[in-house]
C-alpha cells in the first residue's frame, strides 16, 4: 500500500514497522508530529510527552536496557538539553535498538539557533543516518534499529524541516517482531559508568567506530550514481534532492550515513569524477572531514552559504558561479511584512501590555510569548533557551542590586517552566533575589500546536492524569506567597504586579488562562466587540495592543470628526470574524468607544479547564 506521508509521519511509521515499544519526546518544531502520529495511529507503542528532552532520552535508555526497541525524538536544540545522557549513552550502548531522532531547523523557521547536529554524531562517536525524503525516513528508522542492535550503539537519525515537513509517497509494510526479548538484565559493568567501567567502555566505542567505518563502505545507503566523469557531487539528505533537481546529469555520491564516513568509497568517487563539489546545508561537515582525508574537492562552502537552508536556486548558483543569472523580478516595491503574532484573545497579551506600561526589564523565554518582543508590545528583552528567563532575571537582579529593584521580571510559559524553569526557580528560592517571575500558564504547549504537559492534566493520548499545581510548587521551592492573576483583567494584573515588584524577596505570579486555541478549555467564546464610530478619536490605545482583530483606518472629510466634534485622523475597527471577545481593548479605551455585546463585560472567559 502507498500513502502520502510527511517525513515525521514516515519516521513514526518506521518506528511502528520496526516493532518499537517505547517512544518519548518533548514537543519542538520541526519534530513534534512524530510523537503525535505515534500517539494517534500506533496504539501498540507506549508514547509519552516527557518533561524535557533529557528525560525523554533517559526514558528510552531504560526501555532499551530492558531489551525494548525505543525511540526518542527532539528538535536540534533539544539535544543540547539531552546532551548529558546522550554523550554517555554512547559508552553504555544498548540492548534493544535505540534510535535518537534529531530534527534540525536550517533557516530558523521556529528556533533560537540553527546549529548543525551532525557535529553531535562525531562528538559522541555514534553513527548518524540522514534521509532525504519520506520513504528514506521510514527505511532509515528501521535500518537504524538493526544497526543499533548490531553495533551496540545509539543510532542518530537526522532530519531537517524540509524532510520532516515535506510530504511524499511512501510504501507501507507490516510491522516485525523485534529480535530481543524484554526482561530485567543486570549487566552492571556495561551500564554503570563508574570510572573503572567507563575506561573499558571508551575502548569499546573506539573499536566500534572502526567497525562502523567498515560498514559505511558497504552500506547500500551510501550510493554512487555515475552519470558523468567531469562533474560530480558528494551530498546527503535534503541537499541531494535539490542538487538532483538542477543537475540530473551529474554523478553523485549520496551519503545515507553521514557519520562515520566511507573513506574508500569517497576515494573511488574522486577517481571516477574530475570535478567534485560538496553540497551541504549549514556547516562544512562533510567537506572538512573529506578534506582532512586528503581529497581536494573543486568547491564546497566557498560556493554555498553557511547560514540558512539551501534550495534548488542556491545549489545551481553555487555550482554555476559567475555564469548564473538570477531570474529577473517582476515586482520590486517593498511590501508590508507579515510576522507571526499573538492570536486575538491570547492570554499573554494583557500581561505584556501592563509590562510595557510599567517599563520594566523582561527576561523572556521560548514560546508564543517570545512574540511579545515585537512591536507594538515591545516588552520582552531577552531570550536564550528553554528556561533561561528565570536564571537570567535572578542574575540580573544580583548584578544590579538596589538599582534594579522593582524593575526585573522573568516571563516563562507553563510547559517551558516545567521543562527547564523549576531548577532556576529553586535557585531563586535558595539564593534569594527580588526578581519577579511570571508563569504564563495557558494550559498547553502553544507554539508547537497545543500539546499536553505535566501542568495540563492530560497525557499525550488525552487521558486524565496528575496535574502540577504551580502555586504549591512555588511555595515548596521557596516563594512565600505566589499569586494568581486573571490574564484578561488589566487592572488586576497591574495591581498584583506592582505589589510583587515592590517586594524585596523572591516572587512568583501565575497568569492563569487557557490558550485561546485550546478548544476543550472554553464553554463558549464571548461576543465580538464593536467600535462606536461616533465616539472613537483614533488614539490607538486599543490598536497598540497588537491584536490582529483590531486595525487602524485613516479617515478624511466628514469622518474626521467625532459625534461631539473632536478632531480625529483615523478610527479603530474590530474584525468580528476574528474577535473572540477578550475585552482587553474595552478596558484600555478611555472614550467608551468600544462596545461590548455582553450584558456585563466579563474580564475573561468562562472556562472549563481544571474542573
Amino acid at each position: 500500500m502507498r500513502k502520502i506521508l510527511s517525513g515525521n509521519e514516515a519516521i513514526a511509521r518506521g518506528a511502528y514497522e520496526a516493532g518499537v515499544k517505547v517512544a518519548a519526546a518533548y514537543p519542538g518544531t520541526p519534530s513534534t508530529e512524530i510523537l503525535e502520529t505515534i500517539a494517534e495511529e500506533y496504539k501498540e507503542i507506549y508514547a509519552e510527552w516527557s518533561t524535557n528532552e533529557k528525560v525523554a532520552l533517559e526514558v528510552v535508555i531504560g526501555a532499551s536496557m530492558a531489551g525494548a526497541r525505543a525511540m526518542a525524538c527532539m528538535k536540534h536544540v533539544g539535544l543540547n538539553v539531552a546532551a548529558d545522557p546522550f554523550m554517555t549513552l554512547s559508552y553504555v550502548g544498548v540492548i534493544g535498538g535505540l534510535v535518537l531522532v534529531t530534527c534540525d531547523d536550517p533557516e530558523l523557521y521556529s528556533s533560537q539557533n540553527e546549529q548543525d547536529n551532525r557535529n553531535y554524531a562525531k562528538f559522541a562517536k555514534v553513527p548518524m543516518l540522514e534521509p532525504s525524503d519520506s520513504q528514506e525516513a521510514k527505511d532509515f528508522v528501521k535500518l537504524g534499529f538493526e544497526l543499533s542492535e548490531r553495533f551496540d550503539t545509539v543510532v542518530m537519525l537526522r532530519s531537517v524541516t524540509r524532510v520532516s515537513h515535506a510530504k511524499g509517497i511512501v510504501k507501507l509494510e507490516e510491522p516485525i517482531a523485534p529480535p530481543v526479548t524484554i526482561e530485567i538484565r543486570k549487566q552492571t559493568e556495561k551500564f554503570t559508568m563508574l570510572p573503572s567501567f567507563a575506561r573499558v567502555r571508551h575502548r569499546v566505542i573506539e573499536e566500534r567506530l572502526l567497525k562502523l567505518k567498515e560498514f559505511a563502505e558497504e552500506f547500500e545507503g551510501n550510493r554512487m550514481e555515475i552519470n558523468n566523469s567531469d562533474f560530480g557531487i558528494i551530498t546527503s539528505g535534503i541537499s541531494y534532492q535539490y542538487a538532483k533537481e538542477v543537475f540530473p546529469d551529474f554523478s553523485y555520491l549520496k551519503l545515507g550515513m553521514v557519520w562515520p564516513l566511507p573513506k574508500n568509497l569517497i576515494k573511488e568517487f574522486f577517481k571516477k569524477v574530475k570535478r567534485v563539489y560538496i553540497v551541504e546545508e549549514l556547516d562544512p561537515f562533510l567537506e572538512d572531514n573529506i578534506r582532512a582525508m586528503g581529497f581536494k574537492p573543486k568547491g564546497g562552502k566557498d560556493r554555498f552559504p553557511l547560514c540558512g537552508e539551501l534550495n534548488p536556486l542556491l545549489v545551481e548558483k553555487g555550482i554555476r558561479g559567475r555564469g548564473f543569472k538570477t531570474p529577473k523580478p517582476y515586482f520590486q516595491e517593498p511590501l508590508p511584512p507579515r510576522p507571526p503574532n499573538l492570536c486575538p484573545g491570547c492570554p499573554h497579551r494583557g500581561i505584556f501590555a501592563v509590562l510595557r506600561k510599567l517599563k520594566v526589564y523582561v527576561a523572556g523565554d521560548i514560546g508564543c510569548y517570545t512574540l511579545g518582543a515585537y512591536p507594538p508590545l515591545n516588552s520582552l528583552h531577552s531570550n536564550v533557551c528553554m528556561g533561561s528567563s528565570v536564571g537570567a532575571a535572578h542574575g540580573m537582579a544580583k548584578a544590579l542590586g538596589e538599582a534594579g529593584k522593582g524593575k526585573i521580571v522573568g516571563v516563562i510559559g507553563d510547559s517551558t517552566f516545567l521543562h527547564a524553569g523549576v531548577s532556576p526557580l529553586m535557585d531563586i528560592g535558595y539564593n534569594r533575589s527580588y526578581a519577579t517571575i511570571i508563569i504564563l500558564d495557558n494550559r498547553t504547549t502553544g507554539m508547537t500546536g497545543s500539546q499536553e504537559h505535566p501542568g495540563s492534566g492530560y497525557t499525550i493520548r488525552g487521558e486524565k492524569t496528575h496535574q502540577v499545581d504551580f502555586i504549591e510548587l512555588g511555595r515548596v521551592l521557596g516563594i512565600e506567597n505566589p499569586r494568581k492573576v486573571n490574564p484578561w483583567d488589566l487592572e488586576e494584573i497591574e495591581k498584583v504586579l506592582k505589589e510583587e515588584l515592590e517586594k524585596d524577596e523572591p516572587s512568583l505570579i501565575v497568569n492563569e488562562g487557557p490558550c485561546i486555541l485550546l478548544r476543550r478549555a472554553f464553554k463558549k467564546y464571548n461576543q465580538p466587540l464593536k467600535v462606536d464610530q461616533s465616539k472613537c478619536i483614533g488614539c490607538k490605545s486599543c490598536v497598540n495592543l497588537g491584536c490582529p482583530a483590531i486595525s487602524y483606518q485613516p479617515v478624511e472629510g466628514e469622518m474626521a470628526l467625532t459625534a461631539d466634534g473632536k478632531k480625529r485622523k483615523g478610527i479603530a475597527y474590530i474584525d468580528p470574524t476574528l474577535c473572540p471577545g477578550c475585552h482587553l481593548c474595552f478596558q484600555v479605551c478611555k472614550f467608551e468607544a468600544i462596545q461590548s455585546q455582553e450584558e456585563k463585560p466579563i474580564f475573561g472567559f468562562e472556562t472549563v479547564v481544571n474542573t
Binding site: 508530529e33 510530504k167 511524499g168 534550495n311 536556486l313 531570474p327
Partner: protein
C-alpha cells in the same frame, strides 16, 4: 505522461486552510498516478504569519521546494500574499487569486498602507490571471472556512481530473455534517473559472 514536473505554489495567511488544500491536491494527483511532493513550514511561522506550501507533481519529483522563477501556478489565498510571491513565477505562469485581504500588523497599526490595486498590478504583468471571490462565496454558502474548497473548485478547472475524484478526497478530510456545504462550495468554485 509528461516528463516535466508541474510546480504549484500555494500562499496565504495562517488559518486560511492553505495546508489542507495542498494536502488534498497531493492526494488527488497521487491517485491520478503521479509522483508528488510538497513542503511547508509549521510552528512559529504559522501564528498569523505567512503560510506557503510548495506542491509538485510529475513522473519523478526530487526537490520538495520549487526553484524560484519556475512556479507554473501561483495559487494565492490572499491578495498581498499573491503579490509577495509573484517573483517566483515563470514568465508564462498562471495565477489564481482569492479576492480577499487580510491586514498584516504594520497595516493594522496604521504604519503602512495595504498595497493598492493588486489585481491590476498582477494583470499588467501576467495574462493568465484568475481572480475568484472565494471568501465571499464561502460566506454566502454559510461558512467562511469553506473558502479553501471554493478555491480548490476553481483550481480544479486547470486539470483534466474528474470533479468526483476531487470531491471524494475533499470529503474524506471533512466531517460528514459539512459535506453538503463543501460540495456546494466546490461546485461554486468550479463555476468561477470558464
Amino acid at each position: 505522461m509528461e516528463n516535466r514536473t508541474t510546480n504549484i505554489l500555494v500562499a496565504g495567511v495562517g488559518g486560511q486552510g492553505v495546508i489542507l488544500a495542498s494536502d488534498i491536491m497531493s492526494e488527488v494527483f497521487m491517485e491520478a498516478g503521479y509522483d508528488v511532493k510538497k513542503s511547508e513550514v509549521h510552528g512559529m511561522a504559522m501564528r498569523g504569519g505567512i503560510v506557503t506550501s510548495h506542491f509538485r507533481f510529475g513522473k519523478k519529483v526530487y526537490s520538495p521546494l520549487i526553484k524560484e522563477g519556475e512556479v507554473d501556478i501561483l495559487f494565492a489565498f490572499e491578495q498581498l500574499e499573491g503579490l509577495r510571491w509573484l517573483n517566483h513565477l515563470r514568465p508564462e505562469g498562471k495565477i489564481l487569486m482569492n479576492d480577499h485581504k487580510v491586514n498584516p500588523p504594520a497595516v493594522n497599526l496604521g504604519e503602512m498602507g495595504y498595497p493598492q490595486a493588486i489585481p491590476e498590478t498582477i494583470r499588467s504583468k501576467f495574462k493568465d490571471f484568475y481572480l475568484v471571490k472565494g471568501t465571499e462565496i464561502a460566506l454566502q454558502i454559510g461558512d467562511v472556512r469553506a473558502a479553501n474548497v471554493v478555491l480548490l473548485g476553481a483550481f480544479s478547472r486547470f486539470f483534466e481530473i474528474a470533479e468526483q475524484k476531487w470531491l471524494d478526497i475533499i470529503l474524506k478530510y471533512l466531517p460528514p455534517k459539512v459535506h453538503d456545504l463543501n460540495r456546494r462550495a466546490f461546485s461554486s468554485g468550479r463555476e468561477q473559472v470558464a
